[in-house]
Amino acid sequence: MKVRVDPDRCVGHGRCYALAPEVFEADDMGHCFIPGEDVPPELEEKARIGEQNCPEHAITVEE
């Protein structure tokens, strides 16, 4: 699974890294960045939680 964040959409709600800090991190602005696009199987559920709680639909996961 791959996870991506669209930096033009992210405005720093911070829901992703609050709910799934294993997958999503915050930069100084409080916007999301993803250290690695490839999500190991044990974190796939976490990546989905981030995606499902982003009010800006900035996060996409691809199988």
Partner: protein
């Protein structure tokens, strides 16, 4: 439901700015049925008193995402200010310059440093009323918590609390008989707000301190220092955005939990549910029910044409219970798996203070549930809500006081 259509015509209702006309103080305690009715019957509701209310999730999301079309500049709302408030009333692309400066100050990492202070303060406020077994929650907790946090953050004297409450009440709920007086009080208060911060900035220029006001004097945007007016325009917005909203949010949440003991008990039994509860109650209660915008061009929403220059209330509260986005929207589920609520708005103007608000709300619920876990509404009494921002202006609680140990 007649409430919505009747409200604007009630003869004794003074004219209010557009954010306040759909819902009044009587419906503010339970606006959700009105939101539903609006979405189903009048998703684009034009009202006489100055605004078009949009209520479907799809339309609300579109408006928030298109800030160039749905502008929040000075034409959208007047709140006593003479220049655009920074950053809310600055349109892109200028807007992002200010957010680059301000967002890091209010990012989760930064506000986390305040947690111990907020917890201590929360406990101190509870200390003051816990032995009596009752309190009027708004005055004894919901107001002083965020206001004290705000004053400390900016580095302002705590004795000025009453002055700040007067400032923000005069702007948000001016004690006015008619529109002219409403605007006069706002304008006069606005001048007093500018003058207050101007004086503090003079002091900080002479003697800098480790506070936000001093920080603004040093801050740069695109290699230029902020002007004095820039800083005043930031502080003005902070005062209006930072005080009332958290007061209203903690009031709405505690009022809900006091009237839903089984839900309250779940949080008492499992405090790990509190962060999810904060999000879900932000969705369900949406303490800031709508945000004002003005159209810069024509647009079609839900099959209706809206014109350039039209003022719009973007009804966040309604979007947050729209079944097209939230399955079983009326079910308040602290473990809702997907919660893309818009209680803090969205798009480029996403609430700057949202992370500080979340921290205050979480810590407030944690400390209350630890200290007075069985709070309920006092028998024979009812909470009183006001509209605009949904403050619970009167919230009488009773609870078991701690056993006295000598």
């Amino acid at each position: 439901m007649d409430a919505v259509s009747d409200t604007p015509d009630t003869p004794d209702t003074p004219e209010m700015p557009e954010s306040q006309f759909v819902l009044d103080d009587k419906t503010a305690s339970e606006p959700q049925p009105i939101y539903r009715m609006l979405r189903e019957n009048s998703p684009i509701l034009r009202t006489d008193e100055g605004g078009t209310v949009i209520s479907r999730h799809e339309d609300v999301e579109f408006a928030l995402r298109h800030s160039e079309l749905f502008s929040s500049d000075m034409d959208a709302i007047s709140i006593g200010n003479v220049r655009p408030l920074i950053p809310l009333q600055i349109n892109p692309p200028e807007h992002v310059k200010y957010r680059r400066l301000l967002d890091p100050l209010f990012a989760p990492k930064q506000v986390a440093l305040l947690e111990n202070d907020v917890r201590k303060l929360s406990n101190q406020l509870i200390d003051d009323f816990i032995d009596s077994g009752e309190c009027e929650f708004n005055g004894s907790f919901a107001i002083p918590l965020p206001c004290t946090v705000f004053l400390r953050l900016l580095g302002l004297p705590l004795e000025d609390l009453d002055l700040f409450l007067e400032f923000k009440n005069n702007i948000i709920r001016p004690p006015a008989k008619d529109q002219a007086e409403f605007e006069r009080i706002q304008a006069e208060t606005g001048q007093r707000i500018y003058a207050y911060f101007d004086k503090v900035l003079d002091e900080r220029e002479r003697q800098p301190r480790d506070d936000l006001m001093s920080g603004f004097l040093e801050a740069e945007v695109d290699g230029h220092r902020l002007t004095r007016e820039d800083i005043l325009d930031i502080c003005y917005l902070f005062l209006l955005a930072g005080l009332d909203t958290v007061t209203a949010s903690v009031g709405c949440m505690v009022s809900y939990l006091a009237s839903h003991p089984e839900q309250r008990q779940r949080l008492v039994d499992d405090p790990a549910l509190v962060p999810g509860a904060v999000e879900e109650l932000l969705r369900w209660e949406t303490p800031v029910p709508g945000v004002p915008r003005v159209l810069t061009d024509g647009v079609e929403l839900s099959g209706e044409e809206l014109q350039s220059g039209e003022r719009v209330t973007v009804l966040l509260g309604s979007a947050n219970i729209d079944e097209h986005e939230f399955p079983e929207p009326d079910n308040v589920d602290f473990e809702r798996p997907a919660n893309r609520h818009l209680a803090f708005g969205g798009g480029v103007h996403r609430c700057l203070g949202s992370h500080l608000a979340r921290l205050e709300l979480r810590v407030a619920l944690e400390t209350l549930h630890e200290r007075i876990p069985d709070y309920t509404i006092k028998r024979g009494e009812e909470p009183q809500y006001s509209m605009g921002i949904r403050a619970v202006e009167y919230l009488p609680l009773v609870f078991t006081p701690p056993a006295r140990t000598s």
